[in-house]
Symmetry: C2
Subunit: 305 residues, 2 copies
């Protein structure tokens, strides 16, 4: 089976970057489309380190405007410009980011050779923000200290595979293939109805992936991402810092696991770890007591869904 | 002899950062004071890598508002805050940087626990921007595409060393020591004039250091930094790209060497190298044909003046 989403973790840190833990960022590939989610300082170096061409990125999604999630964006846009980019970039963000970009480009007298198409995120409810023939992306609200959005990536239904021999056998014209690929019954050349199941094989199940970058423990997430295959959920703290997590609108590893359980996710990826914790094994252990398929995001790691 | 300035190169690149060449930045230490000059992206990682405590930095000087010279500043200030800083920081910069900082701190709802004392740089002429008992710092204009300033650091005259045995021998009261330390003659207990030269030894010569971060070839620099001991001068290009240097308001290695010669510097440090050049030896070679004491700034290198 061909995997759908390929997720590469570019950073797994929170707030202050360290040499060992760059700011949280990830890049998601699906059929040659690259979606960069969050853009902390040093994002250009991280993209170079893991061999991503910056010019192949056409979509940048920013969850919120805390520095560790966006401070690398301006430098990235300016490098795209310096290295000759002409094609439009799509930027999904809170509206204030446009102010931040415009002010700095004006002051530095940087006139980008490409346009930025802004898609402003809504502070409430779930909205479709991207759609093409393979994929839909939704934004939804996260509860953090400032406006913050999560993202849900859903693969669209894949085509049924046609059995060409059976097409002949059932006397079906090629003009009917597009219907069969969608799982619709057709009429053959003799005017008989043929079930798509007779002449096709079903595609693999579609996959989905949700990103909850910075959020307090929030059971309301079920409304937006129930049944998602893979859940990335922040886990800034361990349970020993539960009060601090609440105060700063972050989550602990066990809270993230509870959410994974609640929404019936199949796989939980933890990230956004506070620099106070030297090792990450404790995060995996704490969550594993509650949810049984947990990964700890490490820089450079790849998850194929 | 105790060295005066200790300069550590944190980055030597231009425009787009690469893994091998971080943006131009340096930190200068003099008697426990730390002056950070320019602050490109990843400055926090560079400071950690070379073991500088960010809280010891009380002075940040920004030459101009192109991204490779300031984009790391906001993250640095926010980390200083998160790590508990309370003491004021002095920021020497063009006034527009305050707008950039204020906008982003407002949007991210970051309320720094320390104050920023801004010293706005003037677009013309040479101005004293810092003075204490050991050091004076001046700003002066550089000719670049946008407003840009260089900095001149001058050690103040050092005290003459008192020969205590001779004080007794010449019957000089201790109350006269502060005059002798400054190289002034005094009157002894018997009412006789004593030359400072009889009872002191002269200090080493004071040292000076000038930074020309981004500039077109400009002989006018002589007005501001004539006779400086060490000149750091940008050298974005080699002579093969002389036209491009002119067009982008940058300099070549031989132009930097011509300036060093013109102002009678003793030592020239080249930096701010374009990513198009893989090796730096050609910069040293080109400049050495014109000026005989040339260094090529490498990341992590330390110069003691």
């Amino acid at each position: 089976l061909v995997p759908s989403f390929k997720i590469t973790i570019l950073g797994n840190g929170a707030a202050s970057p360290t040499l060992e833990r760059p700011p949280s960022s990830q890049i998601i590939e699906l059929s040659g489309r690259y979606f960069l989610v969050d853009c902390g300082e040093s994002i250009q170096l991280q993209l170079r380190k893991y061999k991503f061409s910056i010019q192949k990125i056409d979509h940048i999604l920013i969850t919120h405007l805390h520095g560790d999630h966006y401070l690398g964006l301006l430098g990235l846009l300016q490098s795209m410009h310096l290295l000759g980019r002409k094609s439009e970039i799509n930027l999904y963000c809170q509206p204030e980011l446009k102010e931040i970009i415009d002010l700095q480009n004006r002051i530095s007298q940087t006139f980008l050779n490409f346009s930025i198409r802004y898609v402003f995120l809504e502070p409430e409810d779930k909205y479709l923000i991207f759609e093409d023939e393979k994929l839909r992306i939704y934004s939804f609200p996260l509860k953090h200290r400032i406006a913050c959005n999560g993202f849900l990536l859903e693969e669209k239904p894949l085509p049924f595979t046609i059995n060409k021999k059976k097409l002949d056998q059932y006397n079906i014209d090629v003009s009917q293939i597009h219907k069969l690929k969608k799982g619709m019954d057709v009429e053959n050349e003799d005017g008989q109805r043929v079930s798509y199941q007779e002449v096709t094989t079903a595609p693999r199940a579609t996959k989905s992936y949700a990103i909850c970058s910075d959020t307090i423990y929030d059971e309301g997430l079920k409304t937006f991402i129930n049944g998602v295959d893979v859940l990335y959920h922040e886990s800034t703290f361990l349970n020993d810092m539960k009060e601090r997590a609440k105060k700063t609108f972050h989550s602990t590893a066990s809270q993230a696991a509870h959410i994974a359980l609640l929404i019936h996710a199949k796989h939980l990826i933890l990230g956004h770890f506070s620099a106070r914790y030297g090792h990450l094994q404790a995060f995996a252990d704490e969550a594993a007591g509650i949810f049984n398929n947990v990964s700890v995001a490490k820089e450079g790691e790849v998850y194929q869904i």
